[in-house]
């Protein structure tokens, strides 16, 4: 593929801390290679900001830069993780853009994800949802032989597909209601599909949904924006499964 260089106009959300009002600030970057990753483009801008000494570098979350840790989280031109489907910001490459483009970069927007600084938000609500029941209660040392319970390949594959969620929060950012249903449903589905997860299935779904509501995430109205923007392409089927699990559990718990 042909390489090319480009000059870009960036509009980046700057916010000193969670109490600051924040605003979009214009920056220009030049000589950006189409081979760079999006975050390497931000690195270039930050090095320039350090050298100029006027503005502090832009704070953003990132770590593995391989699309798996779930740390990166930018809202790029109105889309979580930018224009490429099934791709995290760190795997987005600059060949997605052309010379002279304007790129607007914002943090995730959701009541349950307060901004810490610039593009960094607090996603600890996701940890608390997992704490509410996103596990199988098995202490170390209690396990039976791994092949003692055969699991149909189809169930194992579906559980794996749900477990591929990286907990980045793009689903929340994409949703007009800032709902966390795709995230919650992925974990509920993974564990509900496996025999090991069955004993706690009912309590799990009720507790995780209750925690989700308590954290201030919105309701799901089935628009599918979350699935469309999920970098791991977690399926909406999981939300349907969560709803079934939740309904069953609610009825059972009333008996």
């Amino acid at each position: 593929m042909e390489h090319y260089n480009m000059n870009l106009n960036l509009k980046v959300w700057r916010q000193k801390n969670k109490n600051d009002k924040g605003s979009l600030v214009d920056y220009k970057v030049s000589g950006i290679s189409s081979e760079m990753s999006f975050l390497e483009m931000i690195d270039v801008l930050n090095e320039k900001l350090v050298a100029d000494g006027k503005d502090e570098p832009i704070a953003f979350d990132h770590d593995c830069r391989e699309g798996i840790c779930g740390m990166c989280s930018m809202y790029i031109n109105g889309r979580p993780h930018g224009p490429w489907a099934g791709t995290t910001t760190c795997q987005l490459h600059m060949r997605a853009f052309k010379d002279g483009d304007t790129i607007v970069i914002e943090p995730w927007r959701a009541k349950a994800f307060p901004v810490i600084r610039d593009l960094v938000v607090d996603r600890s609500a996701f940890d608390r949802i997992i704490q509410a029941g996103g596990y199988i209660s098995v202490n170390t040392g209690n396990a039976v032989d791994a092949n003692a319970i055969p699991i149909p390949k189809d169930d194992a594959d579906k559980a794996f597909a749900a477990a591929a969620c990286i907990g980045c929060g793009a689903c929340v950012a994409a949703c007009k209601n800032a709902s966390a249903m795709l995230f919650v449903s992925a974990k509920v589905s993974q564990l509900a599909l496996l025999p090991q997860g069955k004993p706690e299935a009912q309590k799990r779904v009720l507790d995780m949904v209750a925690q989700m509501d308590k954290e201030g995430f919105g309701s799901c109205t089935n628009t599918g924006a979350c699935e469309a923007e999920c970098p791991k392409e977690i399926s909406l089927e999981n939300i349907a499964r969560l709803n079934r699990e939740f309904t069953t559990a609610s009825i059972m718990s009333e008996e």
Binding site: E40, E47, I68, R123, S124, D127, I136, A156, A163, G197
Partner: protein
Amino acid sequence: MAMNNRIPSGELAQKWSTYKSTCKLVNPANKRSIDIIVVGTGLAGASAAATLAELGYSVKTFCFQDSGRRAHSIAAQGGINAAKNYQNDGDSVYRLFYDTIKGGDYRAREGNVHRLAEVSTNIIDQCVAQGVPFAREYGGLLSNRSFGGTQVQRTFYAAGQTGQQLLLGAYSALERQIALGNVTQYSRHEMLDVVTVDGKARGIIAKNLVTGELERHFGHAVLLCTGGYGNVFYLSTNAMGSNVTAAWKAHKKGAFFGNPCFTQIHPTCIPVSGDHQSKLTLMSESLRNDGRIWVPKKQGDTRKPNEIPEEERDYYLERRYPAFGNLVPRDVASRAAKERCDAGYGVGASKMAVYLDYADAIQRYGKIEVGKQGLDNVSKEKIIELGKAVVKEKYGNLLDMYSKITGENPYEVPMRIYPAVHYTMGGLWVDYELMTTVPGLYALGEANFSDHGANRLGASALMQGLADGYFVIPYTIGNYLADEIAVKPIPTDSPEFLAAEKATADRINTLMNIKGTKSVESFHKRLGKIMWDKCGMARNAEGLKEAITEIQALKNEFWSDVKIPGDVNSFNPELDKAGRVADFIELGELMCKDALDRNESCGGHFREESQTEEGEALRDDENYKYVAAWEFKGESNWQLNKEELIYENIKIAARSYK
């Protein structure tokens, strides 16, 4: 200081069970009043913290990321080894033990490695019980694949996301303990010092990365599960935040550093594309199960790969190592790639790459599908289409990642790959109980030096991290803590805590007040270049001596000219990075010193002065059959302590994969 590795006496296969039956125990009531600090929440840290909390200890965990689930264990792709022998192909605990010792080029301890092989089977059981969705066959049983350096199929996997699934399993166990109130989690916190009281580790100084505040935390014991230090090379497959700071602070407080120069350069990574490169991306070793590695037979061949006929391709691994072929261990495969590129046979724009080709695998799987589906009169195109579908199912996410990064389609054109820094076998020296030379201070997982010798086999890092956390430390820590039950929590306003906090604050202020002209990043890049050029895949005495001089000069320049924006009391990633780079610079010097001392080639450590006529690594068992444990004595001053390696069960030999 005298080192005692505390390997239990007796038969190799009985050491661990004897130890477990005879080590001291802490009763449940006493566990509740004992505090344990766990730094790092990757596989080792999360599994240790969860398990210790299950046992009843009061645990605090720390990680610099925003959640325990982000630790870099999550990026491990290919799999985890275990001696289950589900494939009935001759595997056993002994074979896994043997392969690991041999793979490590006879520079690891027999006792530790045998224990690792023993508990490997429990790990798979535990993970399945937690709901880790490993790959399965149609019969519902677990699937296995092969990795380098072995001739059995013992690797369990979850597509190319095994590390993610294992970490999420350990993370879920940890979150459960947090919910139960047995663990307190401190995210976006970085450990900046170990606090010792009367010679024992009793706590840490941690920085809240959001507010910039320093905090003092007490623990009866401190566990460092902080990963490796590959980022000393600037470019590596490690996460951007992976760093040596916690281990380095421990080293400066008295913990010896074991075999610092033992670095693993992984053969199959996506090549560097330009000066902007911030990190490198691994392509899983599992791709060598089916992919074939080659370069053109003609030097400087500029033809496109698909235009080079079969007879003009050099499948150099298959040629040089017929017994293991493309599945030789990582150090061997990396050096062979470097050899071809240095000799002028490299491919791609930079000529610093070799091909990893899936065309044969696509053909082969296509034909198998034709047979399975009972098709007749099948066209070539149809075979390729069927084959691509199989390859996509097995390796799809990896090939997609390649395509996103390079803009090329690996189903059509061979991938370009080159070796990159991936893992560090070296780390804090620990005894059989995983305790460092500082009493009460432990190191687990990649942070310790213990099990992989001079080269780690693929799919063994996940195994070791979880072995240490789930199955080793829960026993060994009791042996220490049983004598600590009378110790009341030490107030964190005691002189030792206050002094450690002040030293940390002073260092931060010194850094901020340099107000120089060069960015932290620029120093890190320069350090990385010195390390890669002179302490990378091939090393020699002259280069290492130069590197030491250059690093010392770089250190002086850093401490007089680094420019750190922002302020101390706020979220300031540049300041945090500055502290880490300062530690990497000091570590880099020690790595070169260690590489210079070890005038032999073994595993990933290749001294050009010590090679066979065929260019293979040449060990010197007479002079170097030891663990180099370096003791910090002051600035640029270390004392070498040697732990002799004793092989009672394995006859050590030249390592051959031919």
